[in-house]
Structures are given as structure tokens and as C-alpha cells.
Symmetry: C2
């Protein structure tokens, strides 16, 4: 089986030809030394780490899984060494704050590293993604003392981060959680409760494990307003920064899961564990959302990563595997990539993957602008767009990732169903990305009830206007007609339905009935936009690769975007038929 | 977790109120004593076997899996006892030929038993489905002597059947297979070769294992015309019918698979194993197709079975699980079945499942007519419709089954991803049904290149005319307007695209580019037809259940059938964009 090839050519194309990364970064004082060449050379090295160290561990990690020995997590053979090598090489600190020892590279570079990590070892990448999210939450909300103590070693990834939200009866509805925090009197608290589904809850890599735990103070009000956030370390930290005694917390058991077997997904028991308040009392969910938004984007990128590798491997297989007769009837057997129905499986995945990556890079650039631009209004505007796109990226990219993994598995036939080729693992692993960090239904509700309606709908309107402006800008070549027209039509559908969704909020079922279909319509339209931009930038006379991009855009316009017609129709049908059925 | 409830009420509704089973059977001399009451009482007993014996073994069978000990297959604890109880109770012989000891019940009853088997234990059901298919192939093609020796004990299921087709380099393209058969001189042959992915290849249930093996005679021509079919028993049979010495064949290894872990999927080595020719030399594929068509319908029913149980369990969970606020804002937490986006996951699965079952029963009745009607023309006409529907049922029902299992898993959130609730097993198990017995892409190619064009397109035209006739027959009540109109529109799309597909066969890529989208359009339209019939038969004043059927039909019309609009658009776009992309 062909090994994974980091999509560096695609990265270069996006940074240099589609988005003008250099100019965008030059406007951000923190990044004005970072150009595409630097970014690409970093990513090339990161790609070597992913293919050399991580990919070889992916299957054995799945087969071996994690286990609990005397209450301690044992990760699969090689995981610890890979993690230490990752930290040693500085990959964990790539986009971390310079102030706390990070390398301060832009978010754009970070998400492309995240993509390669997710392609080659999803379970491993999740350790690093959670650590970065925890660092971001602490950077935004923790006291100076907590930041000084914990941030440098979280940013280096020497210590790892964990988000501890879910309880058996409190998943989507965090207001129901019952974990308690009692003030000790010295500024610390004792945390008691049981959390489930805790990714990276513990490990055997050495270092500390920093849990961000949601719990209730005594006399806190019911619901989400009574929730506060606490930093709870596995090991208490001595004044000199060394690890002190073990905190009163333990892994109760490991979950047995469909996939991500190399990830220790823990039931965590906190038995009066010492912790410290992060942010204000009763504002725990607000502080946690800094981490959750970072993780939602990261999880979307997990979907992208699996899309990429599954599609790559299916294409390689379809070139090698010979079955059946050529279309003109003269040759047999032929590589199955000649068969139209096999091509459709490959092209749908490829066209979704490349467009998604474009949208990811665009969004990450908005994140860099939101974080670093000198003009406050520019920062705020970019931040609004990131907020709008966050649920779309999380849900649509993981849906596309799952669909692409399943379609890629189908290309291999029976060989896709057995372990040997690795395709079935991609399907099992990526499935979690549609569920955790807020299910994709929760993301869709966030989009229709908060993000699209934010600021009177002006943020969404600005996003749609940006798409329309690009579609009506003359392209550098004449090959984008089909994708421009198809995207224009999809955008018109999206705008019509948006007006309907906004107008329909009088019926309380309207938003929920629309949510997932609306999010998919939104995402497909945004992908069409990306193809229009990518083809506008690609001169097909220049290379095979650019000719291929034109072909993919035409395919996407003709054979994928028509989904939006059906979606509009379903959405305009409204909630009535959906609420009328008695399902008892 | 709620246990599975056999859908007996639905079976009764279909047999008595939608399809007039009694009158149809009365016209078939072989079945004129079989009425709906008898069928339902048989199915009620079968349901008890499935819930009492099989369902409790499903999860442990998955976790334990099969293993090979000293070359012998060991199935999970309890499987052997369940199999013996199944045979003892006579369930294996339900629809077998009376002449060879079967009970001779109609196919309609058989497929509903198959559904319940598939719901409660997919791996187990596959043993019985393959045995029946092998019996059917032998009944149609084997010599009298082979039939006398093997059929009674295959029909009782005391012995089991196996189809051995695939080789490492010959999957979809069986013309590439290389297994050899050398005549011994006494009428028998020595079979040599290695087959992979052999379901039920061996077991530890006792009895014989009868392999139907495709192989080439010496000097046979290349390609499919050189393939013959051989009966190769695990144990040679003595003249008195007792088991004699072991044949020269062995399990080389077991495949490690994504799911159906309780199924021993074998690599089989035939090392000069003794076998006998079934049917004519060089006509092995023809004989095998009797078995393959039976299995394709059976595999479609596997998809239906998983749809049913996954959706049932998700509905039960959604009633129990409380998260979030009611739509009117007054209650919290509420059962998640109140949330529109959860309802959509449940309703899509439920509306596809019930309509699919209707189509399965309709098709099985055509099979009974094709097998038993006294008028040859009636038999032939019914057989043509069965041939048309076979790829649709195999591919669409397994796609719907997978989609419904995934959507049902999503309803459970994180609980759907862990083993405990069983949902992730449904997803892993049903995934194989889209792949084996000819991938769903192969089914779609069969539909567009052979079935829809058969007899100048007259068979398909007759099917479409039957749908239109039902849509224009006045219904027994006024509740079917929405589903009739939506199905009428979908049918018009299907007919337009059919004309296009038939017309477009000049371009050799047209059929392949259309295949899978066309099959889905066909299947959704047929499901709409079924809902129109079911609602036409259901008076909502009579019961809650019938009110629910009207609601489901309206939901299907408004929120599922619009998919056909997008599909038509994609199909009319043709193959060009699909063939133009260079995927090297």
C-alpha cells in the first residue's frame, strides 16, 4: 500500500497563488517575518515527522489499543517515544505564544500541521490538539500565577491538556452537570465528581496532565450559570516548578470504542482533587468556550485529514487494482480507476477535500487577522467570520471526512473491509469527529440559532457578499465559468433559505428542523466558492496539477453542487411534517 | 437498553391491508393453504427465537469473534447451540422445497424471517442465508444424484452451504480466477486453488459444509466462459449418507474485519479436493447466479434488518435521554426526541425502513408468483420484475441500512461510539452488506446496463406504469395527497433520466457515470410509491399506528424525496466532467 504523501504542493498553491499569504502576514506585525516559503519549509519538515514517525504507528496503535494497568494508562507501543520526539522537535510549540516559549507561527501553519497529524495518526494528534486548546483557554482566562506555572510547559507540550466536561447525565446539556468544587480557604478548591468520555485523560508519556474541569461551587445557581472552570493537575506543582505529590484523581476505566483505540478515553474520578479557579465564578462555560472553539476547528481539521489520506490511498489502489474491461472494450483487465463509478467515489472525495482545505486556510487567516491585526475593527470583523465558520468547519468537514472515508473504503471492495489495508480504521476513527466537541447537530443548531443571526444577520450577509464579490471578479483565465455559475446558483439558494430561516424563528421548531440541512447547504456553497477561487488562480496551461484543478472544479459544479437543489427544497418544506409524527 | 421488538404489527399491516397476501397466495396452487394469519403466527414464533436466542449472543459474538485453533474454526460461545436450536426448530427449512423435506412456505415469509435474523444477529443470519442460496443453486442446476445426496440436509440446514468465488486477483472480475479442476475419471474432479473472503467457510456446528466452488477445467477458455461450478464438501459422503473422510481442503486463515466478527470469513485452500460438476462445463457463472441472485436479495434484507433495529433502539434512547429545553422554553431537561434535529435523524431512518420493507414484501410476492403461478406468462412477467428489483434492493437497502445505522448512532452521541450500547456494532456489521455479493457499484451497473435496458426497456416501463397506476387510483382516504404528488414528481424525474440513460449508451461512460445516482433515484421513487400505497391503505382514524404512517409518508414526501431533484440534476449532467479529470 502506498504511504501517505503530505499535500505540500496543495499547501503551496493555496498560500502563494490563491490567498496571498505573504501580503496578509505582512499586515500583521507579529507575523511580518513569516512568508509562504518559511511556512512551507516548516510544513515539509513536519510532514517528514508525520510520515516517518506517526504513520507507522497508526495501525499497531489501533490493534494494540490502550489499557489500564493498576489504575495507570498504558498507551500502545511506540506512542510515548513518538510523543517525546514530537515535543523535543518543538512541533507542539509551533503556534504557541512567544511570551511563554512558543514559536508564534501563524494559525494557518498550525492547521496544516494539524491536518497531517490527523491524516497519519488521529489518536496521537488529539493529544496535541487538546493541549493547545487548554493553553489557549488558560492564556485568555487564567490568573497570571496560573499562566506562569502552567503555560510554558503546556505550550512546549511537555505537559498535556485535557477538557473535562461530560458527565453520564450531562453531555450536550452541560447545565445538568453535578461535579462539585469546595473552597479550601487558601485560594484552592477541592473538586469531586465523575466525568466520562475524557479524551487524553491520562497517559504514560511522563510530565503532568492538566485537566480543565467544569464543576459547581457551593450554592451555585442551577443550570449553566452555576458552572465554574477549574485547573486540576494530575501532579501538584512545587514552587520550584518540579512535580510534587499526586492529586486526588484517578482513571476509573477506559471506554471501549469503535475507533481511536490508541486514545485513552477515560472515565475520570475526582475525589477532592485540588484545583484552581480559571476565570470568574459562574463563568466557567465562557472560559471553556475558548478551548471548545479551538477544538471545534481542530476537529474539523481531523475530518479533513482523514479525507485526504483515505482518498489518496483509494486513488493509489484504483491505479494498481486491475478488474474488468476498458470502456472501449479493447483491454482487460484494466486499472479500476478507468471505471466511471469508481471515479465518482474518488472525485467526490477529492473535490470536497481540496475545497475544504481552501476554506480551512481562509478561515485560519481570518483567525490570524482576528488575533494580530493592529486595527481593532479589522480584528473584530475577522473574529465574527471565524465564529460564523466554526460550526460549519467542525460539522461539514467531519461529515465530508466520514463520507470520503466510506467512499474510499468502497473503492477497495472486500479489501476495504479487512484490517490489512487500513481503510476500515479511517472509517472507525473519523466517526468520532462527528460526535465529540458538540455533535454535528449541536453545531448546526449553533449556526442557525446564533451564528447566522448574529448582529442582525450582518455577519452572514458580509460572508455571502464576499463570495458574490469573488464570483463576479473577472478570473485570471476562462476555465471557471461552470463553477462560478453553479456556485452563484447555490449562493442564491443559501440566501433564500437564510431569509426563510431568519424569518421563520417565530415557529420554535423552524431552526431545529432546518439546522443540519442548512449547514450542509452553507458548506457546499462555501466549497463552490473555494473552487471558483482556486480555478481562477490556476492557469491550466501551466501544469498537469492545475489542469486537474479545473477538472475537479467542473466535476464539483456538475456532480456535487446539485445536492444544494434538493437541500433548498427540503429546507423550504419547513418543520411541520417533522413535528407531526408521533414516534412513541 | 430496550430490546428489539419484532415488527409484527408492520408485517400484518403489509400482508393484510396493503398487499392482499391471501388472494395472491390463493392463486398459487403450492401456497393456497397459506394465509396471512398462518404467516404471522409463524413469524411470531420466529421472532421469539430471534429475541430469545440470537439477540443475547450478538454483542458477545462480536467481542469474542471467531478464531482458528489447529486449523479448525471456533465460533463464539453459544453460536453452535443457537445454530443447532435453529435447525432443530425447523427455521432453516421454512421455504425449502417440500420434495426435499422443506416446509414450502412462501418467499414472503422467508424474507421477513431473514429480516429478524439480520436485526438480531447479522453474522448468524448469514450462515442460514448462504445455506439456502446453495440449496437453490443445487435445486436448479445439480444432477439428480447430487440433489438426492445433498439437498435434504442443506434444506434442513443440518449441513451448511458456502459460495467460493473470490480470489486475491479476481473479485468483481471473476473471469480472472485461476482455481483449477482436474477430472479424476470417475465423474469427480480434483479442485486446487485458494479463495479469499469466504463467508461461513467453516464452523464448529457439526454436520457437513458444502462449498460451491468456481474453477477452470483443463484447456478451458480464458475469461468467464472457462469457469465451471463444483460442489466440494468438507466431508465426503458415504453411500449410506453418513460422513466419510475429510476432503483435501482447509481454512488457511481468518480475515480480520471491521465487523461481523462472529462470522468466520475464511481464506480457503483447496488442495486437490474432490468435487462434482454442477450444471454444464463452462456455465459455472450461470449456475452460480442462481445463488448470487438469492444472496443479493438476502443481503438487501440484511440492510433492512439493521435499519429496523438501529432505528428502534435510537427511538427508545431518545425517549429516555433527557437533555436541553423544550421548544416552548418551559421544560428542562426534556427527552431529546422533542428536539427537531434528533427527530430528523429518527424519521429519515424510520421512513426509509418502513418503505423498504413494503418494497421487499412486494418483490417477494413477485418471486412467489414467478416460482409458482400456473400461467407461464405470469411467471415470466413476475420474474422480470424480480430481476429488475434485485440490484435495487441489494444496493439501496444496504445503503439505507448503513445510513440509518450511522444516523441512529448519532442520536446516542458519545454513547453511540462506545461498545456498551451496541450501536457502533450495527454500523460496523452492516457496512459489509454494501460490499459483498457484488459491491453496490456493481449492482448499479447491473441495473443501468442490463436490467433497465432488458427487453428493450419494457420491463422497466411496466414497473413505472404500475407505480403510476397506483398513484392515480383513488385512495381509500384523503391523506395521501402529499406523498402521491411528491412521488409522481419523482417518477417523472426517473422516467426522464431513464430515457436519457437509454439514449446515452452511445457514450460508453454514460452508464457508469449514472449508475449509483440512478439506482438511488430509482429506489427513492419506489419507496415513495410504497408510502403512497401504505397511506392509501391506512385510515388514520383507526389507530395511532396508522396516524403515524400518514405522518411518516408526509415527512418522506417533504424531507426525503427532494433528494431526487438533486439526483436528476447530477444525472443529466452526464459523464463528461467525470472522465476529464486526470487522477494520476
Amino acid at each position: 500500500m502506498a504511504t501517505y504523501t503530505p499535500p505540500l504542493e496543495e499547501y503551496g498553491f493555496l498560500l502563494k497563488e490563491v490567498f496571498d499569504f505573504d501580503q496578509t502576514m505582512a499586515a500583521l506585525p507579529a507575523h511580518d517575518g513569516t512568508d509562504a516559503e518559511l511556512a512551507l519549509s516548516v510544513l515539509e519538515e513536519a510532514g517528514k515527522f508525520c510520515t516517518g514517525i506517526l504513520e507507522p504507528l497508526n495501525r499497531s496503535g489501533d490493534e494494540e489499543g490502550c489499557r489500564l494497568e493498576n489504575g495507570e494508562v498504558v498507551t500502545p507501543r511506540g506512542t510515548k517515544e513518538a510523543y517525546c520526539a514530537f515535543v523535543e522537535a518543538g512541533w507542539g510549540a509551533l503556534s504557541g505564544e512567544l511570551e511563554f516559549g512558543g514559536q508564534g507561527l501563524p494559525r494557518v501553519v498550525q492547521i496544516l500541521l494539524d491536518e497531517m497529524l490527523s491524516s497519519t495518526h488521529l489518536s496521537f494528534g488529539l493529544f496535541t490538539g487538546l493541549t493547545r486548546g487548554a493553553a489557549e483557554a488558560l492564556a485568555s482566562h487564567a490568573s497570571d500565577e496560573l499562566r506562569r506555572t502552567y503555560l510554558p510547559r503546556l505550550i512546549s507540550s511537555e505537559w498535556s491538556g485535557v477538557m473535562a466536561l461530560t458527565e453520564a447525565s450531562a453531555g450536550t446539556d452541560l447545565g445538568l452537570l453535578t461535579s462539585r468544587a469546595e473552597p479550601v480557604g487558601d485560594g484552592s478548591f477541592r473538586i469531586t465528581g465523575t466525568k466520562i468520555f475524557i479524551s487524553s485523560g491520562d497517559h504514560d508519556f511522563g510530565g503532568n496532565v492538566i485537566h480543565l474541569v467544569l464543576a459547581r461551587l457551593p450554592d451555585a445557581p442551577k443550570g449553566v450559570k452555576g458552572i465554574s472552570l477549574f485547573l486540576v493537575p494530575k501532579f501538584l506543582v512545587n514552587p520550584d516548578g518540579t512535580l510534587g505529590e499526586r492529586n486526588a484523581m484517578a482513571v476509573g476505566s477506559l471506554e471501549h470504542k469503535m475507533g481511536i483505540h490508541a486514545q485513552p478515553t477515560c472515565v475520570m474520578n475526582y475525589d477532592g482533587a485540588i484545583g484552581w479557579l480559571v476565570g470568574e465564578e459562574g463563568r466557567g462555560l465562557n472560559a471553556m468556550f475558548t478551548m471548545m472553539n479551538a477544538e471545534r476547528l481542530f476537529v474539523g481539521i481531523q475530518g479533513l485529514g482523514i479525507s485526504e489520506i483515505a482518498n489518496q490511498k483509494a486513488i493509489a489502489y484504483a491505479h494498481d487494482r486491475k478488474q474488468g474491461r476498458s470502456l472501449d472494450g479493447t483491454r482487460s483487465p484494466v486499472p479500476i480507476i478507468e471505471h466511471p463509478d469508481v471515479r465518482k467515489l474518488l472525485l467526490t472525495g477529492r473535490s470536497l477535500t481540496d475545497a475544504s482545505r481552501g476554506l480551512a486556510v481562509w478561515t485560519a487567516m481570518q483567525m490570524d487577522i482576528a488575533a494580530r491585526h493592529p486595527d481593532a475593527q479589522v480584528r473584530a470583523d475577522a473574529g465574527d467570520l471565524v465564529a460564523l465558520l466554526t460550526p460549519v468547519i467542525k460539522a461539514a468537514f467531519t461529515d465530508f471526512g466520514f463520507e470520503t472515508a466510506v467512499a474510499s473504503q468502497q473503492v477497495l471492495g472486500g479489501h476495504g473491509y479487512i484490517r490489512e489495508w487500513g481503510m476500515e480504521q479511517f472509517v472507525r476513527d473519523v466517526r468520532i469527529a462527528q460526535i465529540y466537541e458538540g455533535t454535528n447537530g449541536v453545531q448546526a443548531m449553533d449556526l442557525v440559532t446564533r451564528k447566522v443571526t448574529a448582529k442582525g444577520g450582518t455577519v452572514a450577509a458580509r460572508f455571502f457578499a464576499a463570495i458574490r464579490a469573488d464570483l463576479s471578479t473577472p478570473a485570471g483565465n476562462s476555465h471557471s465559468r461552470l463553477i462560478r455559475e453553479a456556485t452563484e446558483a447555490a449562493l442564491a439558494r443559501l440566501e433564500r433559505v437564510t431569509a426563510e430561516v431568519l424569518a421563520g424563528q417565530g415557529n420554535p421548531a423552524t431552526a431545529g428542523a432546518a439546522a443540519t440541512d442548512y449547514l450542509r447547504l452553507f458548506a457546499l456553497t462555501a466549497c463552490g466558492w473555494m473552487w471558483a477561487r482556486m480555478v481562477g488562480a490556476a492557469d491550466p496551461e501551466v501544469s498537469e496539477t492545475q489542469r486537474r484543478r479545473v477538472g475537479l472544479a467542473n466535476y464539483f459544479a456538475a456532480r456535487v453542487l446539485p445536492q444544494t437543489i434538493g437541500l433548498e427544497n427540503m429546507l423550504l418544506a419547513g418543520p411541520d411534517t417533522l413535528m407531526a409524527v408521533d414516534l412513541s
